[in-house]
Symmetry: C2
Subunit: 215 residues, 2 copies
DNA sequence: GCAACTTTTGGACGGTCGTCAAGATTTTAT
DNA sequence: ATAAAATCTTGACGACCGTCCAAAAGTTGC
């Protein structure tokens, strides 16, 4: 009897926990949108609540404080953005195809998700001042690095080469190019983005051409 | 007589202007230090004043508002940081020497001026959200790009090659590497910096080896 | 040395922030 | 149907923000 009662209570408890988590996620997503629009410095709890369907007080029902909420929002970002090129890698059968589709995806996300990306760079930079985000940021950065490396490694494989630089450096290089194009995008200059389109294939080539040739 | 009187008045006026400008600069430098320490989001006028020898009220005597002050601080950053490698370029006589000294300088400023650099990236990112900084940021970025290009172009010249990628891309690549190492620096991991030391020469090589060889 | 002007101080203002808690409302278990 | 529990709203709080201003302090021209 006690067993039955316990499992029933467990079910109730689990359902409540699930509902609680679902709302937490919902609010974290609203936070993410607010951050992407306003940036870290100008994001306030009232502004976040206005982007959700609740009042500002509810945020302290689901989150301990602002930092807790923002941290959860960062984790939501991670869930969204660290597997973007996996399909491209999985389906490419030639180096040219991989290069072309990677470039297309690169520029598409630059165009379509620009606010989200500027948020990411904002938060990554915040972690240089505020260490409370740092662990989450480092974890996301590591997953982004892995994502980029899957592209580079596969590209090198298809070209029967080995990459010319390390995994960390390859990520840093492509991230730098991305960030620069993002600045150009927001500055309203279309040129940097178009220039990048022409240049990305060459960068990919350079990243493997400098490496040792394989049989 | 009116002429003499005018020139005297002019001299007085000029002296006052000079003094006014000197104090503006002094306060802008204090602002820069505050920004480097706290980041954009947490920098307040009272905090800035505390870093200077004046009270917070004086800031509105020399600057129209906070934005005006921060903009001036950004310009101070520019005056500091866009000619860092020029000596290295001017004095290098071989590719190996240029590569070595550039790498050393790169890592030295990464270590010594880390707070200033995290500020730069913070402000550049702010310009993605707030367009009032954007023009100054773009101008500084352009000068940084030119600074990096002087290094790359000279290096290619010493190796009798042409760079494999464009000026904009070369800057983006090296800036990405720098930014990544900066994150590693603040995260307390010494490895990324040491890894960069080993990898920078290879990156430089790749940036010219992919390009056409010259007679 | 005095009057006119510049510079600096420090407090007051209206506003917004994160946080909190009391009470209203909704959902749930029985 | 109803009591209990979970969820949400609303308004208040102390703190801190950028800004402004009256008056003190310092400087300059004559």
């Amino acid at each position: 009897m006690t067993e039955v009662a316990e499992t029933k209570q467990d079910r109730i408890a689990r359902r409540q926990v699930d509902k609680f988590d679902a709302r937490r996620t919902e609010l974290a997503v609203a936070t993410l949108h607010t951050l992407a629009e306003l940036g870290y410095a100008r994001t306030t709890l009232r502004e976040i609540a206005q982007k959700s369907e609740f009042s500002h007080g509810v945020l302290h029902y689901y989150f301990a404080d602002k930092r807790d909420l923002l941290t959860e929002a960062v984790r939501q970002y991670e869930a969204l953005c660290v597997t973007r090129y996996d399909d491209v890698v999985a389906q490419a059968e030639t180096a040219e195809q991989l290069c072309r589709e990677f470039t297309d995806m690169f520029l598409a996300t630059l165009r379509d998700d620009a606010p989200l990306h500027r948020l990411w760079y904002d938060l990554r930079n915040q972690s240089l001042f505020d260490e409370s985000f740092r662990n989450d940021v480092l974890e996301i950065d590591e997953r982004r690095e892995a994502m980029i490396w899957r592209v580079i490694a596969r590209y090198a494989e298809l070209r029967h080469r080995e990459p010319a630089i390390s995994r960390a450096a390859a990520y840093a290089v492509l991230d730098g190019l991305f960030q620069r194009a993002l600045l150009g995008e927001f500055a309203g200059a279309g040129e940097p983005v178009r220039a990048l389109k022409g240049e990305l294939p060459r960068v990919l080539e350079v990243l493997v051409i400098g490496g040792p040739e394989l049989g």
